[in-house]
């Protein structure tokens, strides 16, 4: 499975004005630059750099990160929902990988 797969988890339903938790896990090695023990060559860093959280295409939060975040990162943020809509996360790494995932919330 490829790097960059993820789980985006939000409650399926919420009340208007409720603050809900948006949780996510993304597969990524999140490695800092390091030296290959055999060849002595430097293996470049490979990690996520940025994640944007959108709700109905409006930017809610941006997370910038380095290799200090654990492998297969978990993150959680909150979102105040006033209407039904689509939660979207867009994330990219330092090698040009870019992915997105969506989830739906019904607000009553």
């Amino acid at each position: 499975m490829a790097v960059g797969t993820g789980i985006l988890r939000v409650p399926k339903e919420a009340k208007k004005g409720e603050i809900v938790r948006v949780q996510m896990v993304i597969t990524h090695p999140m490695t800092p630059p390091r030296k290959d023990p055999q060849t002595g060559q430097t293996i470049p860093a490979y990690h996520l750099t940025k994640l944007d959280l959108f709700f109905n295409d409006k930017l809610v939060s941006t997370v910038n990160m380095g290799a200090g975040v654990s492998a297969n990162p978990f993150m959680a943020l909150t979102l105040k929902v006033e209407e039904s809509g689509i939660v979207k996360i867009v994330y990219e790494d330092n090698k040009g990988g870019k992915w997105e995932r969506t989830a739906e919330i019904k607000v009553s």
Binding site: T5, I7, T27, P29, A71, N72, F74
Partner: protein
Amino acid sequence: MRKKVVLGVFTVGALVGGILSTKAFAQTDRELTPEEEMRLVQEFNRMLAEGVNPGEIWYEVGKAAIKKYNLDKCDLGLGPGVFKGAAAQLPRYFADAGKVMDLETRVGWCLQKYAGMTQEQVLKFVRECWGKTGNCVSEYDGIIMYLTMESNGHKINVNLKDPHVKKMFEIGKQIYYARLGPWDFNCATCHAGTKEVRIRATRLWSADRPGEAGQAVSIFPKYLVRWGLPMTMHYRYAECIRQMRWPEFIPHSDLGVALSTYLYGLANGTEIKAPGIGR
């Protein structure tokens, strides 16, 4: 060592203009007892278990792999392709194979039968991520994760009334206590006894403390944060046996089945909650 830490804190504290309040000092200065530390490590594990478990990613991997390898024909004891709750009643006796099998051994059997793999190919498939860290994702781990998670919420129910199963349980129990190898270990060295102990910082579960065997096995496959992958039960056996300085463990062997029968037998009645998460 301690002195250094305190000194280090002091230096940093002095340098940043005394921002480090006395709170930081108090924390470093007070010696915690091993028991207090054990509680705090348990607290760490509870915090780790909050939120989404990265191990859940393997569920989708497994779902795809089951199609790819024709495992929807696989009968885990409730009929071909019936997976809901199936893992909870394993190990059990399978007439078609003529022996008791646990989940992983049965999946190996099915891989040979329905995916055309040889035994060697199966073993290679099983061990794809063994000893690896980083971003190793194996389809086998996915399959075991998927099949176990399909039993989430079901209670472990090993049929110890079946004489085949009962016999395997007894063999497993004796293996559990067999002192062997150049370091004289058995499973019970670490995982028995009523006294709560730890190995380095890790609290050890015990077969002699009620409920702990259940808590231990019901969360496998368990996502290990230090390797970034889920550890299946047979990988767990292999790791323990490696640490015991015995020869290398062969997955899907009767040894694995005997240990599973004993441990899941002890765990009867515990709800499956996969994946767990730990160090």
